[in-house]
C-alpha cells in the first residue's frame, strides 16, 4: 500500500505527504503524482487511527455508545453526541424539555466557534504564519474553560445524553459566556486585519482548489466546503432540529468555490454563531434539563436516521435496531470522509505548494474521517 518515493513509467515523480506531517493535522497519508510541480493525482490512504467505532458500538448500549462518538470528531464532540442523542430520541419518540434544547444549541454553537478558531489558527500556520495560532488559541481557551466548568472536560465532553443533557449548567455559565462574547467582539477584527485582509494570504488562497457547485454535491461535500461553492446545505436551516427554527441566523454562502471562499464562509459563520448565542443566552427557559427516561433504553425494531450540522458539515447517524438494548448496525456518515474525497479533483492541475492551502480549507479532522 505504501509507495516509495520514485518515478512512474511516464517519468512522473511520486512523493508522499504524511502519515506524519504537520499540515495533515493528524495521521493522513497522501501519495502525490507530480509532473514537475503540477499535481497529476492525489491518493489519500486512510485508516491510521481507525478504531472501528461502528463495530464497537454494536456491543454497547444506547447510553454507552455516545461516549465513543466524542472520539470521532474531537473538535466538535458536543455535536457528535447531539447527533447520536437525536437519533436515539427519534427511536424512543421522546420530547426533550425546552431548557435542554436551548442548552444543547448553546453548547453546539460554542463548539462550532472553538472548532473554527482552531481551524483558523492551524490553517494560517500551514501557510507559514505562526502568530494567528496563538491568537486563535487565546479565545479558544476561554471556551474550553467554560466547557470544563459545566461538563467537566475540555474536549470530550459527553454532556449531551439521550433525553437532554447530563447535568445542570454551572451557576457562572451565563456570566462567563457573556464575558466571552464581549471579548470575542473586541478581538474578531484582529483576525481580519491579520489574515483576511493580508494580500499574501489572499494571493495564496484565491483561485486555488476550485470546486464547482455541481462537483461539490456529487462528491457529497457539505458544510463550509460546499457552501464556499454556493451550495445551500446547512442542516440547521433545511431540516431544523431543537430550537434552530426559533433563532435568527443567516446561512453563509460564497460563490467563488476556491480556498478563499471556504475561508470566508468559516470566518463569517463564527459571527453567526455569536448571533445565535446572544439570542439564547438570556432566554434559557426554566425547567428540567433532562426528560424522564428509563434506565435501560430499548429502541423499537426499525431504522432511524438523524442529521446535524457539525463544524465540518453534515453528520448522519443511521441506527438499525432489532429491538434490543444495543444497536444491530450503526453507521456514521462523517462529513470529513466525503469532503476528503473531493481533494483529488480539486488538486489536479494545481501546484504542490497550493495543496497545503487546499487541505487547510477543507478543515480535515482525521479521527472523523477514519472513525
Amino acid at each position: 500500500m505504501v509507495e516509495e518515493i520514485g518515478t512512474t513509467t511516464e517519468g512522473d515523480l511520486i512523493i508522499n505527504v504524511g502519515p506524519q506531517h504537520p499540515a495533515t493535522h493528524g495521521v493522513l497519508h497522501l501519495v502525490i503524482t507530480l509532473n514537475g510541480e503540477t499535481i497529476k493525482k492525489v491518493e489519500p490512504h486512510l485508516g491510521f487511527i481507525h478504531r472501528s467505532i461502528e463495530k464497537m458500538c454494536e456491543s454497547l448500549t444506547y447510553r454507552q455508545f455516545i461516549y465513543v462518538t466524542s472520539r470521532m470528531d474531537y473538535l466538535s464532540a458536543h455535536i457528535n453526541n447531539h447527533a447520536c442523542a437525536l437519533c436515539v430520541e427519534k427511536g424512543l419518540q421522546i420530547e426533550i424539555p425546552a431548557r435542554a434544547q436551548a442548552i444543547r444549541v448553546l453548547m453546539d454553537e460554542l463548539t462550532r466557534i472553538a472548532s473554527h478558531e482552531l481551524w483558523w489558527g492551524a490553517m494560517a500556520m500551514d501557510l507559514g504564519a505562526f502568530t494567528p495560532f496563538f491568537h486563535a488559541f487565546r479565545e479558544r481557551e476561554t471556551i474550553n474553560d467554560i466547557m470544563e466548568e459545566t461538563c467537566g472536560a475540555r474536549l470530550t465532553m459527553n454532556y449531551i445524553v439521550p433525553g437532554g443533557v447530563m447535568q445542570e449548567l454551572h451557576p457562572d455559565f451565563q456570566k462567563r459566556v457573556k464575558e466571552f462574547i464581549v471579548l470575542y467582539k473586541r478581538k474578531i477584527h484582529e483576525y481580519d486585519e491579520m489574515v483576511t485582509g493580508n494580500i499574501i494570504f489572499q494571493n495564496r488562497m484565491k483561485n486555488v482548489g476550485y470546486l464547482s457547485a455541481e462537483d461539490a454535491v456529487s462528491y457529497g461535500c457539505t458544510g463550509p466546503t460546499a457552501r464556499g461553492s454556493g451550495v445551500s446545505c446547512d442542516i440547521r436551516k433545511l431540516y431544523p432540529y431543537e430550537v434552530y427554527d426559533k433563532v435568527e441566523f443567516d446561512e453563509i454562502l460564497e460563490t467563488a468555490g476556491d480556498s478563499f471562499a471556504r475561508y470566508m464562509v468559516r470566518i463569517r459563520e463564527m459571527q453567526q454563531s455569536i448571533r445565535i448565542i446572544e439570542q439564547l443566552i438570556d432566554n434559557i427557559p426554566d425547567g428540567d434539563f433532562q426528560a424522564k427516561t428509563k434506565a435501560v433504553l430499548k429502541l423499537p425494531k426499525g431504522e432511524f436516521y438523524s442529521r446535524v450540522e457539525t463544524a465540518r458539515g453534515e453528520l448522519g447517524v443511521y441506527i438499525v435496531s432489532e429491538g434490543g438494548t444495543t444497536p444491530y448496525r450503526i453507521k456514521f456518515r462523517s462529513p470529513g470522509f466525503s469532503n476528503l474525497s473531493a481533494l483529488d479533483h480539486m488538486a489536479r492541475g494545481g501546484k504542490l505548494g497550493d495543496l497545503i492551502a487546499m487541505m487547510g480549507t477543507l478543515d480535515l479532522v482525521i479521527p472523523d474521517i477514519d472513525r
Binding site: 500500500m1 490512504h45 486512510l46 485508516g47 481507525h50 472501528s52 461502528e54 463495530k55 456491543s59 454497547l60 427519534k90 455541481e214 462537483d215 454535491v217 456529487s218 462528491y219 457529497g220 451550495v231 445551500s232 446545505c233 433545511l238 426499525g302 431504522e303 432511524f304 436516521y305 442529521r307 453534515e314 448522519g316 443511521y318 438499525v320 444491530y328 448496525r329 453507521k331 456518515r333 470522509f337 466525503s338 476528503l340 474525497s341 479533483h345 477514519d370
Partner: protein, 152 residues
C-alpha cells in the same frame, strides 16, 4: 415531490420495485440487477433529480446482506432510501461511483468491511484497512479476532 408522487413515478420507472412506509422517508426495495438503470434515471430525470447521495452503507443480516442508499435532491429537497438484498456468499452489485462520485470512497469502504464486490468500479481496493486485510471483512457479524476484539 410528496411520497405518493414519488411512488407513482418510481413504479413507472421500475414496476418490480416494492415500497415500505412508516420510516422517516420512503423506502424502496429493488433487485440488485435493476440498480444501475434505476440509479441513472433517478439522477437524470428532471422531475426527480436525486443528485446528492448522502449515505451509502451495508447491513449484514447473517442470512444476506442489504445495501442501503440514502438519496436526496438539492433542488426539490425530497429524500428516498433504496435497499437491495445481496447474496451473502458472493455479494455483487453495480457501482454508482460514476453517477455520484462520493460513492467511490463509500463503496471502497463497504468493499473492505463487508466484502461486497462493486462491478465496474475503477479503483476497488482497500481504503481504511492496511495491507493483508483482503477477504477478511471485519464488519460482518461472524468476524472474530481474538486479539483485537474485546467482548463485554
Amino acid at each position: 415531490m410528496l411520497n405518493e408522487e414519488l411512488k407513482t413515478k418510481i413504479t413507472e420507472l421500475l414496476p418490480s420495485a416494492t415500497f415500505e412506509e412508516g420510516g422517516e422517508w420512503l423506502n424502496i426495495n429493488i433487485e440488485s440487477k435493476d440498480w444501475l438503470s434505476l440509479a441513472q434515471q433517478l439522477r437524470n430525470d428532471d422531475s426527480l433529480f436525486f443528485n446528492y447521495l448522502f449515505c451509502l452503507t451495508c447491513i449484514d443480516w447473517k442470512t444476506h446482506l442489504t445495501m442501503v442508499y440514502h438519496l436526496s435532491s438539492t433542488k426539490y429537497r425530497h429524500n428516498i432510501v433504496i435497499r437491495s438484498k445481496l447474496d451473502r456468499i458472493n455479494p455483487e452489485i453495480e457501482t454508482v461511483s460514476h453517477i455520484w462520485r462520493t460513492a467511490d470512497f463509500h463503496e471502497r469502504e463497504v468493499y473492505e468491511m463487508f466484502g461486497v464486490n462493486f462491478l465496474n468500479h475503477l479503483d476497488l481496493r482497500l481504503l481504511i484497512l492496511p495491507d493483508g486485510w483482503e477477504e477478511k471483512n471485519p464488519m460482518r457479524k461472524d468476524f472474530e479476532d481474538p486479539i483485537n476484539m474485546i467482548r463485554l
